[in-house]
C-alpha cells in the first residue's frame, strides 16, 4: 500500500535549514492499522502531510498503491487525495454554514464524478447520524462533528485513511465511539494511519511507529 524509501524533508526558515524528517523508510501493507507517535515538533505532522499528499518530500520516494507520488504536480496530487485518501482532523474541520450532508458530499465535487446524495445519506447512516443530515456543523456536538468528518473521509471510498489526533478534542465516550468506527473501517480492509498521544487510542493499532527529531523507528508490532 505505502512504500516509503529514504524520505527527508527540509524546510528553510530564516535562512537556516531545518530537517523535519530524516531518511524515513517503512512500508505499510494494505489493511494495516498504524499509529504514529511522537512529541510535538518531532516531525509527525510533516510525515502525515507527506503521506496525505499535501506536501512533497525534499528527497526520497513515496509509492502509494504502486504509484510514485513523491514529486507530482498540484493537480496530480489533488487527484490522489481525492481518490485514495480520506482525512480526519483533530478539530473536525467541517465547513461552517454547511449542513452535515453537504459536508459529506464535499469531496465528491472534486472527485470528477457525479455527486450522489443517496451515497452521502448512506455513509452518514454508517456513522450513525441519519437524524442529523440537515443540521449545521455548529448544531452538532464534537463527537457528532467528528463522525460527520469520518463520513466525509469515506465518501470517495479511499483505501487510506489518515487521522490526525481524531479524539484529541473529544471526551472519552465520544472518542471511544469514533475509535470504534475507525476500527470497523479497518476490519473492512481500509488502511488507517493515525497520529495520537493517547495510549488508549494507540491500543487499537497493529503497528506503532515512533518518531523523534525527524527520525522514524518501528516501536512494536502486534499480532
Amino acid at each position: 500500500m505505502i512504500a516509503i524509501d529514504k524520505i527527508s524533508k527540509t524546510f528553510s526558515r530564516d535562512g537556516a535549514s531545518v530537517t523535519a524528517l530524516r531518511d524515513a523508510c517503512f512500508n505499510i501493507a494494505a489493511g494495516d492499522f498504524v499509529v504514529i507517535r511522537g512529541v510535538s515538533g518531532s516531525g509527525k505532522s510533516t510525515l502525515l502531510n507527506i503521506l496525505g499528499c499535501l506536501d512533497s518530500p525534499t528527497t526520497g520516494t513515496y509509492l502509494l498503491d504502486g504509484a510514485d507520488v513523491s514529486h507530482q504536480s498540484d493537480a496530480e496530487l489533488s487527484k490522489v487525495r481525492s481518490q485514495k485518501i480520506g482525512f480526519i482532523f483533530q478539530s473536525f474541520n467541517l465547513l461552517p454554514r454547511t449542513t452535515a450532508i453537504e459536508n459529506v458530499e464535499l469531496p465528491m465535487i472534486y472527485a470528477g464524478r457525479a455527486v450522489s446524495r443517496s451515497r452521502a445519506v448512506q455513509v452518514l447512516a454508517r456513522v450513525g447520524l441519519s437524524h442529523r443530515e440537515r443540521h449545521f456543523a455548529t448544531e452538532l456536538s464534537g463527537g457528532e462533528q467528528q463522525r460527520v468528518a469520518i463520513a466525509r473521509s469515506l465518501i470517495n471510498d479511499p483505501a487510506l485513511i489518515l487521522a490526525d489526533e481524531p479524539t484529541g478534542n473529544l471526551d472519552e465516550a465520544a472518542g471511544e465511539a469514533v475509535m470504534k468506527i475507525l476500527h470497523g473501517l479497518n476490519e473492512e480492509g481500509r488502511t488507517i494511519v493515525l497520529v495520537t498521544h493517547d495510549d488508549a487510542v494507540a491500543a487499537h493499532a497493529r503497528r506503532i511507529l515512533l518518531i523523534r527529531d525527524g527520525v522514524l523507528r518501528e516501536s512494536e508490532v502486534r499480532a
Binding site: S78, K79, F89, N93, Y110
Partner: protein
C-alpha cells in the same frame, strides 16, 4: 471537478452569507444603474434634440440664407430685417450655383391678425414658394398645398398649420372656408400634418402658409425676403455651396472688399453635427464617470473577497485536503466574484430601467432602452467580476493547505 456542482456550492455560500453578498453587490449595482440611466437618458435626449431640429428644419441638406450680418440672431420677420435679400437673389442662386438643387423663398411675419367668423389669433404667416413641401419633406394632412400656378397668379389661398387649424376651426372642417389674414380674404386649401415641438420645446404648427408672391404683393407689400433656403445636391458639400453663394451675393449686392456681408449663411447639417458632437462629448464624459463608479464597485468586491480569503483559510485548507486542486479553489473564488458582480449588474439594470422611466417622465423625454447598453452593462459586470475577482481567487488558490489547516 464537477462544474455544475461547484456552481451550486458557490450559490449556496453566497446565499448563506446574504448580508455580505448584498454589500458586495451594492457598488456594482449602483454603478450599473447609473450607467443604464445615463446612457438611456443621454441617447433619448440626443434623439429628441435631433428630432426637434428636424421638426423645425425639415431637412439638413440645405444652406439657409438670411438678410443682415451674422451678428443679427433670433427669429427674423419682415419688420426687423434689413431689406437686402431679393427675389432675384433667389433666382440667381438657383440658376447659377451648380451645387444647389432648388431654392425656397420665404417671407414671414408674426404680428398679423387672422380671423374666421368670431375666432381670431396671430399665427405666424409664412409666404413660401411652391416647392416648399418638396424641399422640406413636410406633408399635408387634408386638402392640398398650393401649386406653382397659384403662386404665379398670386392666388389668395392658405394652408393651415395644425395649431392654426385648431385655433380657427376647433370643431369644423376648414377646407374651402374663407379666413381673413390682416384684412385680406384667403380660401383655406389644406391643412398640414403637425410637426411637433421645436428645439426650444414650443409648437411649430401655429402658422399659416400662403404663396410668397401673394404675400409680397397682396399682403405685406414688401419686395424683400426674410429667408432663403437653398437645397444642396450633395449634402456633404455645404461649405463649398456657402462659399459660392457668398461670392455670388456679395457681387450682386455690390459689397466692397473688406466690408461685411449684408446676409448670413448657415449650413444646418454642420450645425447639427456640432450639436451632436457636443452631445456625444458630454455623453462620453458621463459614461466614463459611470464606468468609474462601476469600477469602484469592482474594487469593493475585490477587497471584501480578499478579506473573505483570509477568513476562510480553514475552508480552503479543508477543500484542498479532500481533493480540491489549486485550480478548483481559483475557480470557486472567481466564480463567487463573477456571480456576485453579475447579480449586482442585473439588479443595477433593473434599477436603471426603473430610474430611466422616472427621469424620462420628469424630463418629458421618450422612454428609450438601448439593447446595446444593457448588453454592455451585462458584459461589464461579468468582466468586472473576472477582473477584480482574479487576484483574491489567486490568493486563495495559493494558500498553503498545511498552514491553513494548522490555524
Amino acid at each position: 471537478m464537477n462544474l455544475l456542482r461547484l456552481f451550486h456550492a458557490v450559490v449556496r455560500t453566497l446565499t448563506r452569507n446574504k448580508v455580505r453578498a448584498i454589500l458586495m453587490m451594492a457598488g456594482v449595482t449602483i454603478g450599473i444603474a447609473s450607467l443604464t440611466i445615463l446612457t438611456s437618458i443621454g441617447e433619448s435626449t440626443r434623439r429628441e434634440t435631433m428630432k426637434r431640429f428636424k421638426n423645425m428644419l425639415g431637412t439638413f441638406d440645405t444652406v439657409i440664407i438670411r438678410p443682415g450680418s451674422s451678428k443679427n440672431r433670433g427669429m427674423v420677420t419682415l419688420t426687423n430685417v434689413v431689406p437686402s435679400l431679393k427675389f432675384d437673389d433667389a433666382t440667381a442662386i438657383a440658376t447659377q450655383i451648380p451645387e444647389v438643387r432648388q431654392v425656397a423663398e420665404i417671407q414671414n411675419a408674426f404680428d398679423i391678425d387672422v380671423k374666421y367668423q368670431d375666432r381670431s389669433g396671430t399665427p405666424a404667416i409664412f409666404g413660401v414658394s411652391s416647392n416648399w413641401l418638396e424641399l422640406r419633406g413636410d406633408e399635408v394632412a387634408e386638402g392640398e398645398f398650393f401649386s406653382e400656378d397659384d403662386a404665379r397668379s398670386m392666388a389668395r389661398v392658405a394652408i393651415l398649420g395644425a395649431e392654426a387649424q385648431k385655433l380657427l376651426f376647433p370643431d369644423e372642417d376648414s377646407i374651402g372656408k374663407t379666413i381673413r389674414i390682416g384684412d385680406v380674404p384667403f380660401v383655406v386649401r389644406g391643412v398640414m400634418v403637425a410637426r411637433g415641438a421645436g428645439p426650444a420645446g414650443g409648437s411649430l404648427d401655429n402658422l399659416i402658409f400662403i404663396p410668397v408672391t401673394t404675400a409680397s404683393k397682396r399682403l405685406f407689400n414688401r419686395d424683400f425676403l426674410t429667408m432663403l433656403i437653398a437645397q444642396l445636391k450633395d449634402p456633404t458639400k455645404g461649405q463649398v455651396a456657402i462659399d459660392q453663394i457668398q461670392t455670388l451675393l456679395r457681387g450682386r449686392h455690390h459689397i466692397a472688399q473688406g466690408a461685411l456681408d449684408d446676409f448670413n449663411l448657415t449650413n444646418p447639417g454642420a450645425v447639427m453635427a456640432q450639436v451632436n458632437q457636443l452631445g456625444s462629448t458630454l455623453r462620453t464624459l458621463l459614461l466614463v464617470v459611470a464606468i468609474l463608479a462601476t469600477g469602484i464597485g469592482g474594487i469593493v468586491i475585490m477587497s471584501v473577497t480578499l478579506i473573505g480569503v483570509s477568513e476562510r483559510r480553514k475552508e480552503i485548507g479543508v477543500r484542498r485536503a479532500v481533493g480540491a486542486s489549486r485550480n478548483a479553489i481559483l475557480a470557486q473564488f472567481l466564480l463567487e466574484a463573477v456571480l456576485l458582480s453579475f447579480a449586482g449588474g442585473m439588479a443595477g439594470i433593473l434599477i436603471g430601467v426603473a430610474g430611466t422611466q422616472i427621469v424620462a417622465q420628469l424630463q418629458h423625454l421618450p422612454f428609450l432602452l438601448l439593447p446595446m447598453a444593457i448588453l454592455a452593462a451585462t458584459m461589464l459586470s461579468i468582466v468586472l467580476g473576472l477582473l477584480f475577482g482574479v487576484y483574491p481567487a489567486w490568493k486563495a488558490a495559493m494558500t498553503d493547505p498545511i498552514d491553513a489547516l494548522r490555524d
